[in-house]
Point group: C2
Chain length 196, copies 2
């Protein structure tokens, strides 16, 4: 069964793309990140709430502060990746909803007047956007190294604020030597999919 997506694109985004743990020195430019964002911003979210926010860690000083809050096993790669991005969920995304979802501007008050509802929605929808972002990094011909092993409270305090929850930190660049583990097995279709 063939997909509509061409085979080279399937390889680039999924089949041959791998999480990278080492990188070359080649920098990742602002223009590359902008091209990634301008593609993946179109990925769907509920009520077009698009709660993902991105902090690019470019200065040596900021990188050092971030590395200190990563789990030990993530420090070396976070220290050496050409670019590191903190992906966070904006729990106050509802302020933008009347602009972002003109089809139903009342959504802001009808569904998101309470903070817990916003946090739930922002967590799920920013995670969708984090996945679109990873796909976008690959679409740019780069490798992503997404990580969730870090001190979230410390990263929130140093790089974000009380309204923004860190979801993951992503190393970005061209893969270096021995960049990836051997491909791990995947569950079969029948282990994942049931039909009723």
């Amino acid at each position: 069964m063939s997909l509509a997506l061409d085979s080279a694109a399937q390889d680039l985004l999924f089949r041959e793309a791998r999480t990278a743990n080492t990188f070359t020195d080649e920098p990742v430019s602002e223009e590359q990140v902008q091209a990634i964002y301008d593609l993946v911003k179109f990925g769907p979210t509920a009520f077009n709430q698009t709660p993902l926010r991105i902090v690019l860690v470019r200065s040596a000083e900021a990188r050092e502060r971030l590395v200190a809050h990563m789990a030990e096993g993530n420090r070396a790669k976070t220290a050496t990746a050409p670019l590191v991005a903190i992906l966070a969920a904006d729990n106050e995304f509802h302020e933008e909803l009347p602009t972002l979802f003109p089809a139903f501007p009342q959504a802001k008050d009808v569904f998101f007047s309470e903070r817990p509802a916003r946090e739930n929605a922002a967590g799920l929808n920013a995670a969708l956007q984090a996945a679109y972002f990873i796909v976008g990094v690959r679409a740019a011909g780069l490798a992503a190294g997404p990580m969730t092993g870090f001190d979230g409270a410390a990263i929130q305090k140093e790089f974000l604020d009380g309204d923004h929850t860190p979801l993951m930190v992503v190393n970005i660049g061209k893969p270096g030597e021995d960049a990836s583990y051997p491909r791990s097995p995947r569950l079969s279709y029948d282990e994942v999919v049931t039909t009723v």
Copy 2:
């Protein structure tokens, strides 16, 4: 700035792809869903935990039960889509980890011995996979209609079990007449991305 991904693929997956609210009668086959899964199963998750589980709602009886638990505004499209999938997070994914992540089989006990840690990880990583799945539906030349407006407790009780949390319900098929709202605006790069 051009991406490595070809322009037709960019359009298919992001730029021209739209959430569909109406569909043609053309069925979505088992083979199409298998092709989608066999592509997007390679999308990265933490420790390759791949906690997403999928329930395809194919029988008229099951469809009727599902529609009853959808928010009113989602019922007509859920009733008429060629295929409907319930996407859920498996909170007991850690049982498979020694197989799924042979590089560090101890992860099961070191990181996921407690249920709350598993629920957090499963929620985030299954959401990433839900986004890969939406991209995969589009890669198959189909439209997705992801929805989070439903009675989650009722869907969990009727279609899942206490270990599986529903994340979203996705309508799948070829877009029908007036399938989509006009494209809503997106936040600009500078509204989303900051650099430190």
